[in-house]
Symmetry: C2
């Protein structure tokens, strides 16, 4: 670490503490990973709650205060804080989740998902990267300051509040109820989340933008029942043909969405941002060979990196209608169903986008079928100015620990909590992740790269230091 000698004594002591206790930290992480906190499975309710209790105890032991396991109608939230930094020091709200994805199919795991196993430089277990390992990093970084201080009476350079939920993998419903009602408890200057991945062990990355979502069901119905296509074909419109016409009219072959007004609210990409995104070392050939598509595709006037994160999309997620089993049946189907989702970018509003789509579909649908649109889910996109002190602090921390400047990424998916914090707490979020693209999260053999676990603790330590410095 290049600047180690010039750092302030508290940070040095914290880094030294983190390095001295790596073995113990790994054992603790294993204990956390052994709890099968599959938040979506009712039969795992007790274990999921046990994970919350375990986490509360770990926070207590790390020196965090005001530790609370907060019951909800679903899985509990865990809250704690440490608010004794210097009077002008900023407050960081750290978010994580202790629930994990289901582990099936079990037979595809090389080692049992809830018996954490270290092999080479990886720890294998469900939740290792998503998100127990990454959440635990912050507890250990805080501990390093608080326990590593002179005579154990250490201090953090910033105030911290810690909020960990148990329903991230199932939609975060109770968090979305809790946050708007607890603005004072959660008041902070910035939010910090480690639940994303960097590009490679050598290349850190900061996600500063996330796409939003508008999910719609489209149902086209025609005759009352499936008809014989010989007896009725040519006289009755076919819902599957009509649905295809509607879907084809939503997006043209170049990837431009044809819904009137769809792009009106899209915040344009500045030249500066396009230059920033162009620094992303994206290997298109490797990417294609991994996903198997014949070629990349999309709006020709944008780069692939821009299209994957900074441009809105419209994808059909599923269609079913008519006869779909083996072989042939000469049916003119009564109905056709499509699931359609749009990834949104700032400043598109999900409900407005839905209204635009519905109006357009009603306008283009022929009178020979009935069309029904349903709004299923919406989440706004989010974007954070990458010039704010907290992001620059994360960049400085990454650079010192990984030896390389991070790249800046606009992620194509959604992390709803970021929008929640932005809307109800007025907080920007720093997404400082330590996962890797091949961690197999949500899949069998999930793993976490252990050097990133340790680097993560050091990066978090440095983030607190750099953030206090840059925001003063």
């Amino acid at each position: 670490m290049k600047n180690f000698e010039t750092m302030n004594p508290e940070t040095k002591r914290a880094l030294t503490h983190a390095r001295n206790f790596r073995e113990r930290h790994l054992e603790e992480l294993k204990a956390f990973l052994r709890i099968p906190s599959i938040g979506t499975q009712p039969e795992r309710k007790a274990e999921t709650e046990a994970a919350a209790d375990w986490l509360a105890e770990a926070m207590q032991e790390a020196g965090l205060e005001n530790v609370q396991v907060i019951p909800t109608r679903g899985n509990p939230l865990v809250y704690s804080d440490w608010l004794h930094a210097a009077p002008d020091a900023p407050t960081v709200l750290i978010y994580g989740h202790y629930d994990v994805q289901p582990a099936d199919p079990l037979y595809l795991w090389d080692t049992p998902p809830f018996e954490p196993t270290v092999k080479d430089d990886y720890i294998f277990a469900r939740g290792a990267a998503d998100d127990k390992g990454q959440t635990y990093i912050h507890i250990k970084a805080i501990e390093a300051y608080l326990e590593g201080g002179a005579e154990g009476g250490g201090r953090l350079p910033v105030n911290v509040k810690f909020l960990v939920e148990g329903e991230e993998e199932s939609g975060g419903h109770n968090l979305s109820l809790f946050v708007p009602e607890n603005g004072e408890l959660l008041a902070a200057d910035v939010a910090l989340i480690s639940d994303t991945h960097i590009l490679s062990p050598e290349q850190p990355a900061i996600v500063y933008g996330l796409r939003g979502m508008c999910y719609v069901f489209l149902d086209v119905t025609g005759p009352r029942r499936d008809l014989h296509s010989g007896s009725f074909g040519g006289g009755v419109d076919n819902p599957l043909n009509a649905l295809s016409h509607i879907i084809a009219a939503l997006k043209n072959k170049d990837g431009h969405i044809q819904i009137p007004g769809f792009y009106d609210a899209v915040r344009p990409l500045s030249d500066e941002e396009r230059q920033l995104l162009a620094k992303h070392p994206f290997d298109e050939e490797a990417w294609l060979s991994e996903n198997g598509a014949p070629k990349s595709w999309g709006e020709p006037e944008y780069t692939l990196v821009e299209r994957l994160g900074a441009r809105p999309t419209l994808d059909v997620n599923g269609i079913i209608g008519g006869y779909t089993d083996e072989g042939m049946k000469t049916v003119l189907p009564a109905r056709a169903h499509a699931k359609i989702s749009m990834r949104l970018v700032p400043d598109q509003k999900p409900k407005e986008i839905y209204e635009q789509l519905r109006n357009y579909v009603q306008q283009i649908a022929p009178p020979s079928v009935r069309v029904r649109c349903q709004f299923m889910h919406g989440a706004p996109a989010s974007i954070t100015d990458y010039n704010i002190p907290a992001i620059q602090a994360a960049a400085a921390a990454y650079e010192q620990v990984f030896g390389r400047e991070p790249v800046y990424i606009r992620e194509g998916g959604s992390i709803p909590v970021v929008g929640l914090f932005q809307e109800h707490l007025g907080l920007e979020t720093v997404m400082m992740g330590f996962g890797l693209p091949d961690d197999c999260i949500h899949s069998p053999n999930e793993r976490f790269y252990l050097p990133n676990f340790y680097r993560g603790i050091e990066t978090a330590i440095l983030f607190f230091y750099e953030y206090s410095r840059l925001s003063s």
Copy 2:
């Protein structure tokens, strides 16, 4: 019957015989219907063969000769003939089928499907109308001539050959092998089939045209596996969106098929034929209220009756792709599958149409997906000149029995045996049906209108007489 008194003595005697033995004919039909000859079910193999044997015996008793139960790799064929008509008399090849559709769901039947039950003017049983009842009509018409003759030594005014199969409901594979190899045995002047329905008890109808078929599977594949629509949307083409574009390009919103060359071989409708079809008393409102479609639809320059029988179609019979269960999943699917069938009219050739579709699809498919077309099934359309003596004979017979001229219909579906006879035996077919639209064939509570059973026998008797007269 208006001309009864002026008929020749043989025909009068046959009609009288048919009327005298109605009760016995009904009992015999019940015996035929009691045999559960579900040709597609291996566990009904013995019963299906028993139906063939029963039929052979019934033919023998009716006076038919050369009766044979001809084994095939599937269900047997039943053949018989009577070839002693006057030297210049024509030969009629009568076709029927003794296999029936499965009867499930059984709980929807009001009376057991294989216990024929007479209620009001109907006989309820699986196969009553399709096609045991209609096949049996011809055996009884032949019997009426042969048994009803002076001192039982009666004669038919025409030669007849009778061929009944046991695989009509399962594709008729073995018949399609038998016919081309037995041109001499089956040589005739015209074919006669009673396996269609008339419009109402008062309105007979002659089907003189049938549409053909070209059935195609279309598979669109993109990435190797289902992808996360957030991480990959905008960069990878979506097979479901691409499939929708392809399908939308196949047929425009007016019902005009856009495949280059598709209409080239379509035999135009003459003014005379359009006038003939315009006589069809088609109640569009009743038709819509029965099928439940919001409105009728199709090529605006053709009438509904023309579009339903005399114009080619393209219908999507099924689509499946992506996530199709309850709820949402944000998937960019790896593949999409569509089943597409085209109803063809003379003189479109199924294989040529398939080639045109495949070439067009390959031409319009974007390079960002892979598209595979598969030819699944083809059958040519068929049409018979409604001015030939055999059709005019059927019209005259219908008119005398039903008291009303028949309407002429081009049926939208396919009866493959008509094309088979046309191609391999050079025979035109008279489709002289006695079913009704609400017979519930292929459904629970299949029934046959008994007055039509008796009228059918008389119509067949008169057909033989009129045909011998008109073709001399």
